[in-house]
Amino acid sequence: MLKDKVLEALQTVKDPEIDSISIIELGMLEELDITPEGVSIKLLPTFMGCPALEIIRKNVITAVSQVEEAENITVQFIFHPPWTSDRVTKIGRERLKEFGIAPPPRHIAETGEWEADCPYCGSTYTTLENLFGPTACRSILYCKSCKNPFEAMKPVSTLM
């Protein structure tokens, strides 16, 4: 089926900044609509000002264009529903760890504080060094067990 082929193509589109994880595994795909008019893809940006969005749009069009019957491909970024970090899939969480990035914590304390386990040794003995990492969606932490600095994907929820 065309839809499966398009999904397969989307699976090859990686986050330009974390090339082990696909945009599907990140939970960015909200809608895939195939009609006689063409293929319409709606994506949720992880962060609004993310400079990688245009690159992702281009890569999606390139990848889906490889599918023979796919024509008239449109990619739209929408804000509703909002992307939240619990949209990262189970496989996605594993892929992040492979890349050395702790997956977004599932629990946020009422004070807004959160903890992430070390992606290298699994230790919970970590401290938050800098809320803002190299990109908007990541923070920098330090593991007191294996003494490695590491990044974690920030938890983002509608409760914030």
Partner: protein, 272 residues
Amino acid sequence: MTHTLVDALKDECYHNSAIELLFQLADDDFILSYRGSEWLGLAPHIEEDVAFSSISQDTMGHAAMFYQLLQDLGAGDADELAHVRSAGERKNAVLLEKVNGLGTYLAEPHYDWAFAVVRNYFYAQAKKIKIESLKNSSYQPLAEAAVKVSMELYYHLLHWKTWFTQLMDAGGEARTRMESAIKIVLDDLDGLFSLGNSGPELTKHSLIDSEDTLRAAWVNRMSPVFESVNFNIPEKFGMKNGNGRNGEHTVDLKSALDILGEVYNLDPAASW
């Protein structure tokens, strides 16, 4: 009553009010993001440089989204709305257009970090309160966007609050400089809550809460923080340099727009 884009396009009075509010929101984020970007390479340390530019990038993303909502309402092309409008057409609060300090980005910048911390913290809290109000806005596309902005803003607020309390608690020169920065910011703080001449219309259409409600919520949220750092805030805030919502601005905005315009006019098609 909830208004979709289609509803808003059918009701002229509502349409005008929605546009008015969106210009205020977009212009606020646009100019403060620009002032933030001027700090690049000048923040107290490398980690702060990374954090501040990340925040400015988020903020520019919010401005771009508000300009997009304006474009959807037929107010013009989003990029042009951001870059081509003159100072007199801008609706941002004057507090946000003020220069970062003496000197310019290129020539001998002597920027004031205390002022940056206070301005950004007070603004982030005011924006958070507005955004929470906007989650219940009658204009559905704005209410939806507010949910997304709120999540990112949460981290900005946390960041600036940490700086604020640490510098206030540090005593000595830090405390003195923070207190003078607070004085300067309070002199124009009311401009953040102002909804301009059309304020009553905006509230009547349930687009956003009234100025008084927004201001009271800010005071309510900030009071415990001020208390924790032993600082008394005055009962009243000022709008010393004019009300930006009504197009009143300082020379600082004009010179910022001239620089931004120069860059934009080099290549209007470039993506920003």
